[in-house]
Subunit: 155 residues, 3 copies
């Protein structure tokens, strides 16, 4: 049996990649050599920030994990746009997570793991695992609860 494509995998996961519109005067991604730097993605769904506010206050952990996945879906949409085929991603290199939160929050790992797990689910055990950092911040563009950046090695 032939391996299923990443597009098929996305379909199985019921993930529909959105169109990407940068929030400001920049581009969704820049390629330099074999590295693709993807701009910070917010938890937009159907063109709107679906998850606003502070994690742990305005959003509980389960909702924040959905926000993290929404960021990843947008990151993948940029990869697809830039590369045509997601099979051209050779390695997810580094993912950076910024969580809009407040003093006292300390569930960064649980929230960010939702993003990391989805990347591994979509890209598999070879391409998907990545270096990562996650921090809490004071507000994000458009009142988003989260922002994520990604660097990928591409073919």
């Amino acid at each position: 049996m032939a391996p299923i494509s990443i597009d098929q995998k996305l379909k199985e996961l019921q993930i529909v990649l959105p169109e990407i519109v940068p929030a400001g005067n920049y581009v969704p991604a820049v390629r330099t050599g074999n590295l693709l730097f993807v701009s910070g993605q917010l938890p937009k769904v159907e063109g709107k920030i679906a998850y606003k506010g502070r994690v742990g206050k305005d959003l509980n952990i389960e909702t924040a994990r959905r926000a993290a996945k929404a960021c990843v879906v947008n990151l993948i949409a940029v990869l697809k746009n830039e590369l045509g085929a997601l099979e051209k991603v050779k390695k997810i290199v580094r993912v950076m997570g910024y969580i809009n939160t407040y003093p006292g929050f300390n569930d960064h790992v649980k929230v960010m793991d939702a993003a990391s797990e989805l990347l591994v689910e979509v890209f598999g055990e070879t391409v998907g695992p990545h270096a990562r950092a996650v921090v809490g911040v004071v507000e994000l563009p458009l009142m988003a609860s989260m922002e994520m950046e990604l660097i990928a090695e591409v073919r």
Copy 2:
């Protein structure tokens, strides 16, 4: 008519590149292969932080946009120092903005766009457009209102 140089363009924009003195025990930039990683730059003018405090509280949006441009001028000064000629910048790859702010602020995009616009103005429509992320943070070195990092592809 020959295309004008980036130095001439800076002159037209009345931008004078300052001398760069790192705030601590690090170097202004490191080149690896064709990538140049520039250290975080603060909104220094004539050797001093010209824009201190929290954006949206101590600085309004217009002032914060000037601070963003001051950070970019310092980033360009590092590029010039490292490369000799700014024409050696092949591509602005990624710009990261950290805005010193408070809960309730959500004009990150307006502030950061000032930085992105200046980079495109100086480097042009091919080299200038970049991947970007911007977040709000709790205080920055020397009470700066902003900090910006940059990665460039260079010749």
Copy 3:
């Protein structure tokens, strides 16, 4: 006299490299080409976060500088694990510091310099100096007072 190895240098500095266990669903580092991206490291000592809380409130500057060094020791442990020999580090490229702090703090440079100094001490004046940025953030994973990321050029 032969130059001493980096392992000997670590011994002189009484630094014992710990085993690295990622806090979540990610890997300690990813290599792409000659670049090694190291995941954010916390000030863990013997498997536990040794420096918790907000710098300037729960930790004074001297303690925070020890926390910064603990992050660096963990970064070096990842480099050693990935490369086998630390002599394979050709250049420390970029170090990013996230300090868990509060409005009013402005000693980022003093804290971060402890990290930078240790890197130069261990890797020497050619390999060690790096580009850097440092910002204050709202809480970090596991209540850590600090988090540090590193990019190295490797052989």
